[in-house]
């Protein structure tokens, strides 16, 4: 069932976060306040604890439970954003039907749109959206073009990698890094990095 996929994805995401502690933490220490790793780790760990109860719920309820739990666990800037993603995904059309590539592309697109409407940022603002907006777009276009799941996954990782790299040489308009002005240039955005490692892990593990 699709909820199993969610649980496996959550597991992958959590492992990816743990495995990239030093990198993510270092980036937020460089251009933020140093807690991004702790925040998303706290979120991911808590969701893992939920896994037991979630196995027999439909995806809409599992995603909503995840959203509410993340909302009350992460805090900071990333909490509402990440939580908005899951809340929108839980309401995405056909989420409880068997998952097809179209359906995945749709709920990812809905989720990313929710992050955008909560945080007001866009591509080029040096945030997680520099990874997520291109990712959602690539996924949708790939699905529309009828690409194979394996290709979609490879391209997703590729797109995410380009997105995270693109945050390096720009100033930030949102998040704490915005306070840095020019001094943010040369540093990758921590939220973009954590999004990238999660995307990569999920695409590789599933």
């Amino acid at each position: 069932m699709s909820t199993e996929i969610i649980l496996r994805a959550v597991q992958s995401a959590r492992d990816a976060i743990h495995a990239n502690e030093a990198e993510i933490e270092g980036l937020d220490r460089a251009i933020g306040d140093g807690d991004h790793y702790i925040n998303i780790k706290r979120g991911a760990d808590t969701i893992m604890e939920l896994s037991g109860e979630m196995g027999d719920k439909p995806p809409s309820q599992a995603l909503k439970a995840i959203a509410m739990k993340l909302m009350s666990t992460i805090g900071g800037a990333s909490g509402p954003l990440v939580s908005s993603f899951f809340l929108a995904a839980s309401k995405s059309e056909g989420i409880d039907e068997p998952w097809t590539p179209e359906r995945v592309a749709t709920f990812v697109t809905d989720g990313v749109a929710a992050i955008q409407s909560r945080g007001k940022a866009d591509v080029g603002d040096k945030t997680m959206l520099d990874v997520l907006i291109p990712l959602a777009k690539a996924l949708k276009e790939g699905v529309d073009a009828g690409k194979e799941p394996a290709v979609l996954r490879t391209e997703a990782v590729e797109t995410a990698r380009n997105g995270v790299e693109a945050t390096r040489d720009i100033t930030a308009r949102f998040g704490r890094a915005a306070f840095l002005g020019e001094r943010a240039i040369g540093h990758i955005d921590p939220g973009a990095m954590s999004s990238y490692v999660i995307v990569r892990a999920i695409c590789e593990d599933l």
Binding site: E25, R29, G32, D33, G34, D35, Y37, I38, N39, R42, M71, S72, T73, I74, G75, G76, A77, S78, G79, P80, L81, S83, R118, G119, K120, D125, T171, A172, R173, F174, G175, R176, A178, F179, L180, G181, R183
Partner: protein, 326 residues
């Protein structure tokens, strides 16, 4: 990392528990979700709720009590609290005259409070404090950070609510105090978030961060430590440009947690000299550690261009752990 703690995970709850034991006459502490309320609700009064990441003590928990806040929501260290906390606090302290959320201008705080306000069913309004003039607001869309000016806003609107101002009036006053306030901070050392275990930023033995944020965010520039009179003169110059103070001012010299009071009073002496030179009257002042950044060394200077209403509300009674006068 050297701290008087057990584990990073238990810092916040154990500290809140201790705060609750020490000030049980003033506040009630709740843990799941985490919030504090003043012990006695006053029916018909506008309820004021603030909150933010922990690590800035005594703010905000130390400002809960008669004449200031009705509730505070402490987040993890340097991390915004979550909407469920604000929601629970709002439901607990709403006394029929609406709830005012006092938010400091950080992306995380704004978004989490916004979600809480969307969920809260009572009447509510919000004030966004953004007094940190170290950051030139033109360069980014988040705008200025909310720093020690929050102390003045909380004191003054707390007194106004206690006096019976309605929700709209409390909000208007709070916005006015906020726009009359300007703050700049300077850091000599970093702070260390317990869960991170390492200093938030690196800083050389002779360097300071001019314009630092209260989470150790960078400011205007990294520079070599100078005699403090020069630093204060520059800070006062920037503040003057931003809010053109005249007549009566409230001065807050706020320590970041690791700087001795001796130095804070020394800084205040310089501020006072410069106010004399400018023909400003220091009508009220507050010197001490009120909005800290864990163990960071350094301080901020806040000037509030004050009118008579603000001054009389500043003087009004407050009974909180950190501010107790009038």
């Amino acid at each position: 990392m050297k701290k008087l703690i057990n584990t990073p995970e238990t810092v916040l709850d154990q500290s809140l528990a201790g705060f609750g034991r020490a000030h049980g006459d003033l506040v009630s502490v709740f843990f799941s979700p985490r919030y504090l309320t003043r012990t006695k609700k006053k029916e018909g009064k506008v309820a004021i709720i603030s909150g933010g990441g922990s690590g800035h003590e005594p703010l905000h928990a130390g400002f809960v009590g008669v004449g200031m806040l009705d509730a505070a929501c402490p987040g993890e260290v340097f991390t915004s609290p979550t909407p469920d906390q604000m929601l629970a606090a709002a439901e607990a302290v709403d006394a029929g005259a609406g709830v005012l959320f006092l938010i400091k201008n950080y992306a995380g705080d704004i978004m989490n409070f916004e979600m809480a306000m969307e969920m809260f069913e009572g009447e509510s309004a919000s004030i966004i404090v953004n007094d940190d003039v170290a950051v030139e607001s033109s360069t980014h869309s988040q705008g200025r950070r909310g720093v020690a000016g929050a102390i003045a806003v909380e004191k003054i609107i707390g007194a106004a609510a206690e006096k019976g101002y309605d929700l709209a009036a409390v909000k208007a006053l709070g916005d006015r105090v906020n726009s009359s306030a300007a703050t700049i901070g300077v850091a000599l050392t970093s702070c260390t978030v317990p869960a991170a275990g390492k200093p938030t930023f690196e800083i050389g033995d002779t360097e300071i961060e001019f314009g630092v944020g209260v989470h150790g965010e960078p400011g205007r520039r990294r520079e070599v430590l100078r005699p403090v009179d020069e630093i204060v003169t520059e800070i006062m110059g920037v503040i003057k440009e931003e809010i053109s103070p005249s007549g009566d001012v409230i001065v807050i010299v706020n320590g970041f947690g690791g700087t001795p009071l001796m130095e804070l009073y020394l800084v205040f002496d310089r501020v006072a000299q410069l106010c004399d030179d400018e023909g400003l009257t220091i009508a009220r002042s507050l010197v001490g550690n009120y909005f800290t950044s864990l163990e960071m060394q350094g301080c901020s200077i806040t000037i509030v261009n004050a009118d008579d209403e603000m001054l009389s509300l500043w003087d009004a009674p407050a009974r909180t752990a950190a501010i107790n006068w009038g």
